[in-house]
Structure formats: C-alpha cells, structure tokens
Symmetry: C2
Subunit: 432 residues, 2 copies
C-alpha cells in the first residue's frame, strides 16, 4: 500500500519525529464526507478523524475558505467582519457565562493562554490535570500532558488526579460511591500540592477523558472536583477540544452535559474542519483583568480566512442538524457496539457518548488484562484491511477508538461494526 520511496523520503526530510499510524502506513490522497481513498484507489470509511468535524472536504467549508483566501487575508489589527461574526456565532453556542472569544491556531495555544490567564487572575500557580491526560505540545501544555513525558519530570506545581474510569479504575461500577471515592483521591493530590506550597490556579479537564477512554464520569464527581478547585481559589478550564462541538451529543459542549459552568472554555481541532483554528473563551471580567497587564495578539488567529472557515463549519453543523445526527447515529452505534461486545470476549467494555466510542480490549475479561500494544496494532491493521479507519487510545493503548466526522450515518455504523467484527474473528483465528 505505501510506497517505500515515500517513507524513506519522509524520514530523510522530516526526521524521526513524524510517526505513522499502522505498520503499513496509509497513503491517503482524497477525502469526501465520511470517505477516504488511498493512492491505489482503495476506499475507506473514516471512523476516526474528529478534525474534519463536518466531513472531509465539505463543499460549503471549501468554498468559504477558497473565496475568502482569494479576497483578503490579513490579521485582527485591522477591522474585519469575519472574526466578529465568528465570535458572535460562538457566543450564541457557548455556555452563557462565556462572553468573549480569543482566537488562536491550535488547542495547544488556546490551553497555554488559558493557564497563563488563570495564573494571572488567581495569583496562584498550580494546575490540576488527570493522569495520562493530553492538553498540548507547548512547553506549558506538554507539562499538563501527563501522557507525554517521564513521570519524574513532573513539576511541583502539578497535581495529577486519577481519571474516573468505572471499568478499570480503582473504583468499580457503583456510581454514587465511585464519585465520592475518586473525589477523595483528587483531594489527596490537591492537599499534597498545597503542602508543597502551591495553590491551584486552575483545573484543566477534558470532559470525555480522551486519552484515557473515552470515559463517562459520575456527574457528582465532576461537579465536586470543580467545587473543590474553586474552594481553593482556582478557576475551572474545560478543554473542549475533544468533547465539544457536538461530539459528546446532547449539547454543543461536554460541560453542559455535566451541568458545569467553566471560567474558561477552550476548543481547537473540530472548529476549522482541518484548518488551524482554536478558541479561548471566558467571562468578560476575566478578560478585562488580564488585558490590564497583558496584550495578546496572535498573528494568524482569527484572520479573515480562518474566521470564514470557522463560520462555515458552524453553519454546516446547524444546517445539517449534526447535533441531532450525533445523538441518533451515536445511539445506534452504541447499541451495535454493545451487541458486538456480547459476541467477542476481547471487548471488555463499551465506553463513550455521542459519536465518541471506545472498546476497552482485554486479553482476559475476568482479570481485565489490557490487550497488548502489538495485538492492538494488529487489530487496527485488520480493521483497515476491511476498509475502515479507526484509532487507539487508553492508558495502556488498549482502547479501540471510534470518533468519526459528525455526519456519520447508521449505515456507516453498520459498515464499521461489520469490519470490526470480521477483524476480531481474524484475531481469534490467529490465536487459535
């Protein structure tokens, strides 16, 4: 499938930093809606990519991008309607308390700015994140990404709390009790940080716990954790890069599903349908206080072309009723995944919400031993051989991740299920 020449050239020009999904890297050349094609003309169903939130190469998004790029692209030091209109459209969608929008190019930039603001506003330095979290690649956000660097390098201003995993975490499937237990664990970490002389500036939380799951947490846990942070003078930053933009279903934002009001809400990947666009939104009083000392100007952030794309993505979500589609297709996909789990002992648990589902794969359902990384790699390759693109997640790389573009249909769900079913049968035969 991949040209060895291309792999060699890539290694030469880009170095070891760049890694491919799959042992036989996919060489994709075209995309449309839920479909992708490789260089040999093979068609794939995309069950993984959330960046192209409204589908690959959506004509309305492509047109908005092309038209504005041919007209004007400057920056926000000149007046332009697009960035204002994008801000207004988002404020309509955002939780009421989020009153102002600041645009950047990536979730990393948005999260980095959010923590800078929280530290300035609170005068406190600590940040609370989840074990095996991911929040970005900048120096600051990499430190918030406990999945990205050696444990011994964690700074003393970081408190790391256990993810509320109700399948393989320390506390089992008793929601009311689990909420309390996970909260107690978090308080231990918060107390430990304060003993090191550091008070929390913020909790940064991904309300779908992407790199751990996806997970669904007890509502009381999430609300309790936010209350605990605020009690200690910190702000609540919800990182909606994964959970937002209708991905979790029911609402545009994951935080609304938990009844949590953030002080700062960030988003990135799905906002631009592939174009680099990200958001830091907050209350007006917070923005005003920060602006008294600091200017923030992001050269590319909110430029007329990026803003045109951002507007187009929102328009497509509204025009095509994609939030409703997430609910209906997501419910269907969930039911089919649950059926599949009955059939295959390798599926330990079905987790998720909206159009974000994970199969926690186990080599043994009693001990819940995670399926090995090499077997997970083989499973992904077998599924892609069936023409379906999926991903992996989870603290042990043991979660098969399904997170398709939002226009995913029930027919697409059937195709995906059939491919995974076949791949799991092949895994069993291989084992036998």
């Amino acid at each position: 499938m991949p040209e060895p020449d291309l792999v060699t050239r890539r290694k030469a020009a880009l170095g070891p930093t760049y890694q491919n999904f799959y042992d036989q890297p996919l060489h994709l050349v075209r995309g449309e809606g839920l479909k992708l094609w490789d260089a040999d003309g093979r068609e794939y169903l995309d069950c993984y990519n959330n960046v192209v939130s409204v589908g690959h190469c959506h004509p309305h998004v492509v047109q908005a991008l092309s038209q504005q790029a041919a007209t004007l692209n400057t920056h926000t030091r000149y007046l332009h309607e697009n960035v204002i209109e994008l801000g207004e459209m988002l404020i309509e969608k955002l939780p009421d308390e989020m009153e102002v929008c600041v645009f950047s190019c990536s979730g990393s930039e948005a999260n980095d700015l959010a923590v800078q603001i929280a530290r300035h506003i609170t005068g406190q330095q600590g940040v609370v994140v989840t074990e095996a979290s991911y929040h970005g690649t900048s120096d600051l956000t990499r430190r918030l990404s406990t999945d990205s660097y050696p444990r011994q390098d964690r700074p003393d201003w970081l408190a790391v709390v256990e993810p509320p995993n109700l399948y393989r975490g320390p506390f089992a499937r008793d929601d009311a009790q689990a909420a309390q237990k996970y909260l107690e664990l978090a308080v231990v970490e918060l107390d430990a940080m304060e003993k090191r002389g550091v008070k929390p500036a913020a909790l940064m939380i991904d309300l779908v716990w992407d790199s751990n799951g996806p997970l669904i947490a007890p509502v009381e846990y999430v609300r309790g954790l936010c209350a605990e942070i605020r009690r200690r003078g910190g702000l609540v930053i919800v990182d909606e890069v994964q959970s937002g933009y209708c991905r979790s279903g029911q609402d545009w934002w994951g935080c609304n599903n938990y009844g949590v009001t953030p002080d700062i809400l960030t988003c990135g990947k799905p906002m631009g349908g592939g174009h680099p666009l990200a958001l830091m939104s907050t209350r007006r009083d917070i923005a005003n206080r920060y602006a008294k000392t600091f200017h923030y100007f992001n050269t590319f952030g909110g430029n007329p072309v990026s803003a045109a794309v951002g507007k187009a993505v929102i328009a497509v979500i509204d025009n095509e009723n994609l939030l409703q589609n997430v609910d209906s297709s997501g419910t269907y996909l969930h039911s089919k995944l649950t059926e599949l789990a009955q059939k295959h002992a390798l599926i330990g648990d079905v987790q998720g919400c909206g159009l974000f589902w994970g199969l926690d794969m186990v080599s043994d359902p009693i001990s819940k031993t995670p399926l090995s990384k090499s077997k997970m790699r083989r499973l992904g390759s077998l599924i892609v051989e069936q023409g379906v693109v999926t991903g992996t997640s989870g603290r042990y790389g043991q979660v098969l991740k399904l997170r398709p573009p939002l226009p995913f249909t029930k027919a697409n769900a059937d195709t995906a299920i059939a491919a995974i079913d076949k791949a799991l049968q092949q895994m069993q035969e291989y084992r036998a």
Copy 2:
C-alpha cells in the same frame, strides 16, 4: 472610515484583548498583490505586511490552497506527498546544517519547541534573548519576549542582552569597537545568569532585531555572541520569522548574511502567505536525540493543505525571482529613504536591510529624543490618509516600519516615499 457598529460589536464579542492599528481603524475588505482596499473602496499600498510575503491573494497560492482543500486535508499520521515535498524544498533553501523540518502553526509554536529541544539536548535551562525582544505568545515564548511583560516578572533562567543598536544604543557608530562593547555587555549578563546557577540552553536571536529596529549589527558581534553561547554549552536558535524567507535580502536567511550556522532555525509568518504555517528545523543528530524521549505531533502542522500552501509560496518566490527583487527594490527604497532623511529633521536614522526598513524618528536630532507615541500615531494616520499602510516598531515605539510584501516595486517605493514626505510636511505644519 470604520463603522462604529463594527467596532462596538467587535468589543462585545472579542473583548479588550483585540486592538486596532490606527485611531480610525482600517476596515479592509480586499487585497491583491501590494494593494489593499477598504470598505469605502479606497485603495492602499501595503508597506507593512510581511505575512502575505508573496503579495495579497497571490493566485498561485490561492489555487494551491483551494485545490488541496477540495481534495484532502488530514494530518501527518498518514503519508502524504505535500509535507514531504515541502520539507525537501525547504532543506534545499536552508543552511546545509539544517537537515530535518518539523512543522507547526505559528512562530510561537516553533520557538517554543526549539527551546524545549535545546533544554533537553543541553541539559541546561537558561535562555539568552535581547532586550525588548519578541518571540511569541505561549507561556514559554512570552517570557522570551521582553517587550511583552513587566520587567520584575523575568525568570531567573533568562539572560537579557542589549540590542546592538548603532544609532541610539549605548555604543556609537564605530563598528569594530561597538561589536566588542556590545559583546562585553552580553558576557556580563551571561555571567550574572551563571552566578544565579543557570547555564544557557540556548541563545534565541532575531537577526533583524525587529522589535528594536530593524537593526544591522556588526558581524563580529553576532559571531562572537554565538561563540560565547556555545562555549558555555548552549545552542544557537535563529528566529527567522522576521529576517528569513528573503526578507533581509542577499540570502534566504538572515543568519547567512552574518555567516552564522544555527543549531536550530525557526520560521513562521511569511511561510504560508497568511495561512498558519511554521517551521522548526535542526540538525539530524539533535532531532534524533530529542525523539528518543519525546514525541512531537502537531495536529494541524504540515497537514496536506498547509503544506500545499507552503510549497506554493516557495514556488512563487523562485518563479518571480523575489530574492533578487528584494535586493533591487530594497536598494532603491534605501536610497530614497536616505534622501528623505536629508529633508526631514524628524528622521533621526535610516536602518534596515532588504525590504525591511525603519525610520528612527526623533523630536530633536541632537539629543535623539524619540518622537512621542502620540506623534508616531499621528504620523501613521497621516500616511494612511495618503493611501499607504505602514507600521511602528522600536523600543520606544519611535520607529516607522516599512516591511512590504516581497514583490514591492521601485514604483511602489516612489509612492511610499511621496506619502511619507507629505505626512512629514503635515507634521511640521502642525508643529509650526
């Protein structure tokens, strides 16, 4: 010129963070080559914007963007020719020692990664920057931007050296002596940092000293500073966001004009003609050592659309001989600015290179008292009333900055000179 309604709506949706150039903000709606038009149909010559390096809405760039956006936009976890070809094209242009390219969305991201790498490779934490420097907006790069936050907040791992300003710096226009004197000042700061127990991981240097100038430094100073950093175990990071991509003339990169070989070279703004695209390039041995511990994956960085745009910008620079144009138009602009300085006592100095020129404005040529910010603001407004867009820079906001798109012609230079001449006459009349 600007609609009050738009200004109000902008303030409401985007908060106080967003600021406009000019008291009467420009409301631009269209751009083409060197020209911009506002909502009233007024035409402007763009003498400021370096982001649209090959001119506004260049048809080749727009076509590359539109075509790839309509075909496929994913990320670098799948194989795609574009990012490989962009890497190969850049390696052709880059200093020989820069062997691998890593792409991101902004200069901030590129510089942030560069320092992360330098710290990991050297095991040292200090960073050396210039007084009143600007290197980005992330938590780390903001601290490297000594123009962006209160002096008392400078971290102990920062050594701040005096810019080699040969007009208004502490040492006057004796190049050989000045080089030595500025170098001695830098050594004092380096020693002071080491006394605080911090050794330098890197020097980060903008070789046109944008926020101070632009400035031209004695070659011996630049080489001496780099040698001093290396003697102390640090790496040399050249931030070519401002000086690179043919801007400085003579060569693609500012560092080549000084005969300096960087360990890491970063770039951003001009690479994508307005599209968010940035580069961190380095030696293969450095990239390999970093990759042993850390993965770096930037969702949008080097995606097929961004890479298509990056390739198109390089192709335009080559096809239209823009490096040669920078030299010929730049030389002409320089001579005309020098003539203008003879005529107006407000112009204290003409500084710069290539197509990056600054007029250091003074209320008194003997004392070199910087023209006040309010007068600089008035000057900028008077020039824009003549249909020419310029900017300001300098430690006291006293530098009138001319940094047009690279296809700037001699006729454009004449237009710009006439507008500045007229505005300066109006300033004099106003004073009289």
